[in-house]
């Protein structure tokens, strides 16, 4: 089985930890995260022809107290960029974070997750606003850690992207 390190990146409280909790049932205690700024879980993702093992690094989002520790990105094969559908500011932050990530990691696959889509009434980020991202070729997916919508699927898509990417590179 192939193991891959992946990261979750995004502003604080967008739902990164909730997404992982939804996807994975067990893992390290969450108190580690507040200590050193990262929580690690692992989970297998079965694809059509193979199974990948994800070692998931849930990075503490940057806020007024802490910056994103780019050191933790080292060696990641892919990542999720997570935003909160009810806070437009989180999209802004995600874009600048992505810049930083690109500087640290060479081009690796990633997926933009619009989380908290269960909160329809409070949604502040329209699909139009995401148009530039889609046009730039980003993969975008709407999720809800609360209802579980698209959570498992998002991990499967990223897994497939990693496999495709690896194949493309070895050609």
């Amino acid at each position: 089985m192939i193991s891959k390190k992946i990261c979750l990146i995004g502003s604080f409280a967008v739902g990164k930890t909730s997404l992982v909790r939804r996807f994975v049932t067990d893992g390290f205690d969450e108190k580690y995260q507040t200590t050193i700024g990262v929580k690690i879980d692992k989970k297998e993702v079965a694809l059509a022809d193979q199974t990948l093992q994800f070692v998931i690094w849930d990075l503490e989002g940057p806020d007024e107290f802490a910056e994103l520790r780019t050191t933790y990105l080292r060696g990641a094969s892919g990542y999720f960029l997570v935003i909160d559908a009810t806070r437009p500011k989180t999209l802004e932050i995600a874009l600048s974070l992505n810049q930083k990530v690109r500087e640290t990691l060479n081009s690796v696959p990633f997926l933009l997750l619009i989380n908290k889509t269960d909160l329809e009434a409070e949604r502040r980020i329209s699909r139009e606003e995401l148009q530039p991202c889609i046009e730039a070729g980003w993969s975008v997916m709407e999720t809800s850690a609360k209802t579980g919508r698209n959570v498992e699927h998002a991990f499967e898509v990223l897994a497939q992207m990693l496999v495709d990417h690896a194949e493309a590179r070895s050609l």
């Binding site: 193991s3 390190k5 690690i40 050191t71």
Partner: protein, 523 residues
């Protein structure tokens, strides 16, 4: 007007033969001929140099060291540039070579330390230090070395091989029956902790935490350029653990460098290192448990058992001796002498012929294992009774005196109710009292009584008031006194006493209305 140089003036006026050849060549070969020829010649020279350079250098080097001198500055500069541009490359290349060299140096330093320690420890004079000294001597080791060996106990329970860049677990081994965290999560977490530490202290990413302690566990981490080994050690790990882990990580880098560099998450390719990792599961047992001094314990146990037996036996002997003495004495036998040596008792007894023999007495006792020898001395039984001495006259007089006193004191004279009249039946008692009281005068001297006094005490019953009762009881004593006096008893010898009614008397009313006599005397 400017003046031309002399040579130019000359050339313009006269054409030299070389110039003519030059012109002809240009006409025949074209204007670039010169450059072409030049180039051809140059190429030839390079080839020529290439072919001979090695030999030339060798020849020159064998002559003197000027070549080395002139090259050294060039080589120095080249290495400098290379290291500056690719510092990792050089580290990676020399990593497998450096380990052993460093370890050799460290071993030498440790040797020094052990010697110092030896000196320090040699000053300890505790009991344990002497014991260890002795054991070290027996084991043929230096004391310090022995102390280190005794103090360090550990077990490497798990060894993880971790890919440095991704933090992914490459391989792991562990001792059986150990509850362990998921090694894959531990690997990632350890990498994160290391990253965090480097980040927080602005250290170089190639640097690495070398150990983490938590409770009785120590996590020893040795890192190579592409992978690191983490050994979870329970107890106090000795230096040899780090050394072993270093050797393993060097070997892995040497054998699997390309796999480590291009690691894509497929760890099956690294399965062959399992055997090597297992060699890192070192352990050193506590020596104390093994070197139980059975011989010493055996001696102590024997001594204890022996002592117990001795105490029991001694007690038994004393108990038997006590039984013998008791039995003999109970039968009226006199023990004249006794001597006990070990479990044999020698006695000299004395008894009357009529009493049973000591042998007969001892025959009834349980004296297994105890020997008693008796020298039996017998006194013959005398048939005629032992004469009893007649009491002396004085003794008789004393006895008679005592008897009379007792009789007098036992007499009770009863009176009629509310009257000082004696009941009719007691007149005989009164007569007897008179006689006996008179006889005291004659009995006193032979019995050695120097002086005596008769006390008559009158009593009343509980009826009537206290004053009347006291009066009545006094009158009753007076009646008796008068009778004594009238019949010859000296008045001075008698004292009267009226006590009234005795409070809370349990006697019948009749028995309360009395007069009694006490006799006080000096002898």
């Amino acid at each position: 007007m400017p003046v031309a140089p002399v040579s130019q003036i000359k050339a313009s006026v006269k054409v030299e033969p070389e110039e003519q050849v030059e012109r002809l060549r240009t006409l025949l070969l074209g204007p670039e001929a010169d450059q072409v020829i030049q180039r051809l010649v140059e190429k030839d020279q390079t080839t020529l140099v290439t072919e001979v350079i090695s030999e030339a250098l060798e020849q020159r080097a064998s002559k003197d060291d000027s070549l080395a001198q002139s090259l050294s500055s060039v080589v120095d500069a080249a290495i400098d540039t290379s290291i500056k541009e690719h510092p990792d490359r050089i580290t990676n290349v020399i990593f497998p070579v450096m380990g052993p060299a460093i370890r050799k140096a460290v071993a030498a330093a440790l040797q020094d330390m052990v010697q110092n320690l030896n000196q320090v420890l040699s000053e300890g004079l505790s009991f344990r230090s002497w014991r260890w000294r002795f054991q070290a001597w027996r084991a043929g080791k230096s004391y310090a070395e022995y102390v280190l060996i005794k103090s360090l106990q550990y077990r490497v329970e798990q060894v993880l091989l971790i890919h440095r860049e991704t933090g992914l677990l490459l391989q792991d081994v562990c001792v059986p029956q150990i509850a362990r965290e998921d090694p894959e999560l531990v690997s990632a977490m350890l990498t994160a902790i290391n990253d965090f530490a480097c980040d927080a202290f602005h250290k170089d990413q190639q640097q690495c935490i070398d150990h983490i302690r938590f409770g009785e566990y120590t996590l020893i981490i040795v890192a190579g350029p592409f992978a690191m080994l983490a050994g979870a050690v329970r107890g106090t790990p000795a230096a040899e653990v780090t050394t072993k882990l270093s050797e393993i990580i060097e070997k892995i880098h040497l054998d699997h460098a390309s796999l480590l560099v291009g690691f894509d998450g497929d760890k099956t390719q690294l399965e062959p290192v399992q055997g090597l990792l297992k060699t890192g599961l070192l352990q050193k047992e506590a020596q104390r448990g093994r070197s139980v001094p059975w011989l010493a314990y055996g001696f102590i146990a024997l001594a204890v058992v022996g002592m117990g037996l001795w105490i029991t036996r001694t007690y038994q002997v004393y108990d038997q001796q006590r039984q013998v003495m008791q039995a003999l004495e109970q039968q009226g036998m006199v023990i004249l002498d006794q001597k006990r040596v070990g479990r044999s008792l020698q006695l000299v007894t004395l008894r009357s012929e009529a009493d049973p023999s000591p042998q007969a007495i001892l025959g009834q006792l349980d004296l297994t294992g105890f020997q008693v020898r008796v020298e039996d001395r017998v006194i013959p039984v005398v048939e005629k009774p032992i004469p009893v001495a007649e009491p002396s006259p004085r003794q008789q007089a004393i006895a008679q005196w005592q008897q009379t006193v007792a009789e007098l004191q036992g007499m009770r004279l009863h009176f009629q109710s509310a009257s000082s009249k004696l009941v009719a039946e007691d007149s005989a008692v009164l007569a007897s009292m008179v006689v006996k009281a008179n006889s005291l005068a004659d009995l006193a001297e032979p019995a050695g009584v120097t002086d005596y006094q008769l006390i008559l005490t009158g009593f009343a019953d509980g009826t009537g008031n206290e004053a009347t009762n006291r009066q009545l009881s006094r009158e009753r004593a007076q009646v008796v006194f008068e009778q004594l006096q009238a019949n010859g008893v000296v008045a001075e010898k008698v004292l009267l006493w009226g006590l009234g009614a005795l409070p809370a008397s349990e006697l019948d009313g009749d028995e309360q209305r009395i007069v009694s006599m006490q006799v006080l005397y000096d002898q």
